[in-house]
Symmetry: D2
Subunit: 308 residues, 4 copies
């Protein structure tokens, strides 16, 4: 008996256009710490409150966007078991040897799901040198900076065939959906998936182009810190998409804006405590905008059209 | 594969001395809704945001205190499996038939653990008539009242032999400890246990008298609501124990006070997101007061001495 | 020696279209208390935290909008002195006898300024029966409701010739401007005026039609209450204009929406503490949108076009 | 016509014991900026949000405590007028020439009032180089640090004959008392005095020893920042007196603690908006503890006994 065997999204690798300018955002505005750089020039970062080696890797490229997300599982046995289940589900699996391209990380298995996104799973990762204290711990040691991001929280992926993706996440990853949005014909338009009590670890929106990422969400302590993040966004003239506002879906309090490379960032707080036995919350597609933006209750075209 | 099979503490039955005065507290100050009364005069209550039938039952008695706590599990199979494991662990199990004394609840199994507390497990409970919406849901429908309690969150039990109790919760309930406090000789003084990402579902403190409860914790949205709760406490002249303050343990923000019957209530917010793979946080017993009351950093005699 | 002789805007009379529906908003959503009704059917209201008899009067009419605002001054001597100064400034003054149409209010002098708005001044008003306590006071006695408005805070008027209006407010009312917005030719586009340490008691925007009101602002305790107000706005499907956001001008945190009769309401919190010796903050008209909506930084057409 | 001619407490000079350690507190924990040092080794500081040259001067000495507080008035005419009134009131006045010992400050007049405290008045002071922006201003430019103090807000003085001191402040400074606390025989035990809409600019408590200071209060943005300040206090092991709590008097939200030299610091937020026409709030001395510490409602001996 244990918690879900898939623990959480532990790592995301993103493509960025201007490393210095973008790093300045992640470090001095969002508030992440630089952990290390790889021999091929990628930069590894983490929040002040994450225990593991790093959670965000930035790679210089010609287009912004999503390389892959990696999920931590609870044991070597689960790692092998999920690999087998993934193959049985029908996705080809490759192996990334330990420490080969993400410092501190053990062996990872990778595969591309139907939406065109690469997912990876791993069970071993070194603890960060500068993680939270564990012996008579203070709540922090170095003061949180800027927007004071607490953790990599979730991401939203756009791609085709999200019904299969949802089924994969339930059958292989052991996740559940606290909320879904259906089209009038009953087909999924969007689904939120979690492996925990968080209202989502990631979400999918049905979209005709594969492999797109809509946003990466970082967790803040509360609505006052959402306001603080909005101040930082304004002072640094970051391009805002929407917010401060609240989602009815997840109930989170939020702002969306773009970092200097054009990846959309969400800073997010609150949200209900989800349980798998709670009734599924169902949104009709004509109510989705109210579900997404509870205060505005209206369509935001950029939210549909701009992905990386 | 699933989340932990033991979902959460779903019900607590408390003894109270003055039903009217105490009910006024739970309903109009703490903000719970009365769901129903039993034929023997007990009162069933829930928060505005809980889905299940009720979560708190008050029983008129000559002494205040803890009758039992009941935990929801994920399936009938788990219910039988945990019953068997409990018997194997060495505790005698009795059966409470469906709807026999808690309206809306299915069959429960009950047993007394080494600390002298009765625990129960169940898998079936009816949904409340006035739970959160599930179709294109608003975030609430009837405005939260008073202290605006969101859910029954956790409780702290005092009793003997908590090392065995911790072992029971891990082996039979599948829980884990994010934090513990040890005496200089390495013996447990206190342990926090969770079945989820909450930093605790309940906790134990080693104590020579069995079956005691230290407090029942209700969740609030944020530190601002902790301040609001303190205003209500002051205006209604409720006897305060400590707070508003922060725990270093769990990092929650909190106030402790006594309801009119003398049961200690905590209103609690925040707290980190716990994961079973995070390092165990260990407190030395001579640092426990700082762990409990991060701002005061000092012993509070009432906190040791007053239990019900 | 005394504080400014003009104390504050103490009363506003508004026209509304549907008295029942609109009253429901002011009482149960914004959180005002009904104080009394006049013989001609107007309704007098106040916030829970105001001492004086009432601060808002609603009058049923065919169009929504502004009837007049009345300002409390510190003494009968000031009342007569300001009357004389107003006449000297060039505005005709009429007298409204005590208790003639605003219950509890003493004699008022009224006049129409160049922007087409009627202003009144008075020095006597009865204390409300249900004002804040004054003997060993609790912070409140009846719990604040809904959006929990603390006081009538300010209003924004649209009309012609605001330079003269600003001069009137300085010379006759003794007010000062903490911030102004100028067109490229140096002409005033907008001016904020205060008689106190609040960043504004009211403001003017240059506009070709006289006598228009843009919004009435009510004060909330903090940004968390601005979020709470946004929840109420969403749940009750009030039409939103903008927010939650922050003004750079005044630094207030805010939402704008319309009450059921179409008067725009602002719920506002924070803002700096103004002093008359602080440097004047000057906005260029091409930066005004950033000044108004610090997070959006963009023009909001409705904000220019919709007035009542 | 103008606001009160005495604008605010603009400067306080304190004695400290260990300049480096104490400066570290004021700069890196409380969040003040060092403006300059004087030729005799004193250090001048200000908050990020104050316009004037500096507001706090620290002087190395053998005992901690209060040297003097200086108040800004609105004009050279007021300066001379208040000097004359002070002499008439019966206090000897001396003159401190411009720039003689407080860089950036014009001529000051000083005098010792009956409580044994030296007060000064001035009308000229240079603007700080790093004050808030005034042309299309951002809300801040350098991020607020640590406890994020917004301004020198108020102080509490202990000394004899506070009835005379209150009379002086009303007659000469033009201040008013929003709240007082009286002994059963009707004698003042404490009085809060303001020259503005703040609930207090300073306060007096009757005490047999002259010239004592109880605490210096700095303003924070809100209750969430009071919580943040408490985290900083705990992490840096500053000795706490009381809080986070709320005053019923002024309604402020607060913590008291000692800086490294032993001067008591209050970080304070909220508080009602005071007006001179509001009814005087009167506290009976046997209710004073509830007035001071609304949540605790009990005597705190250190609060009476420890002054510097």
């Amino acid at each position: 008996m244990a918690l879900n065997k898939l623990l959480r999204p532990g790592l995301i690798q993103l493509r960025v256009l201007d490393l210095d300018k973008t790093l300045n955002f992640y470090k001095n505005i969002l508030g992440l710490d630089e952990v290390c750089r790889t021999s091929d020039g990628r930069v590894c970062l983490k929040t002040y409150d994450e225990f593991d080696h790093h959670s965000v890797t930035l790679r210089l490229a010609d287009t912004a966007g999503f390389d892959y997300a990696a999920f931590k599982v609870d044991s070597p046995e689960t790692l092998e078991e999920m690999k087998e289940k993934t193959i049985k589900f029908g996705y080809a699996v490759d192996e990334v040897p330990a420490n080969s391209n993400q410092p501190g990380f053990g062996k990872r298995y990778g595969f591309t799901i139907c939406t065109g996104h690469r997912f990876e799973i791993y069970c071993d990762v070194e603890l960060a040198e500068k993680g939270p204290q564990i012996k008579n711990p203070d709540i922090w040691t170095t003061p949180p900076r800027g927007m004071r991001a607490i953790r990599l929280d979730h991401f939203l992926l756009y791609g085709p065939n999200i019904e299969e993706a949802e089924r994969f996440c339930k059958e292989v990853f052991g996740m559940y959906s606290p909320e879904v949005c259906n089209l009038p014909d009953g087909k999924r338009l969007a689904t939120w998936l979690t492996s925990s009590n968080k209202p989502h670890d990631f979400a999918f929106v049905e979209y005709d182009k594969p492999g797109k990422i809509h946003h990466i969400g970082f967790y803040l302590e509360n609505w006052t810190d959402v306001g603080n993040a909005a101040d930082w966004m304004a002072i640094h003239r970051l391009k805002r998409d929407i917010g401060p506002t609240r989602h009815a879906i997840t109930r989170g309090q939020t702002i969306y804006f773009w970092e200097p490379s054009g990846n959309r960032i969400e800073v997010y707080s609150g949200g209900y405590t989800a349980y798998p036995d709670n009734p599924l919350r169902i949104w009709d597609s004509d109510m989705l905008w109210r579900g997404l933006f509870y205060y505005e209750g209206e369509m935001l075209p950029s939210f549909l059209e701009i992905v990386t």
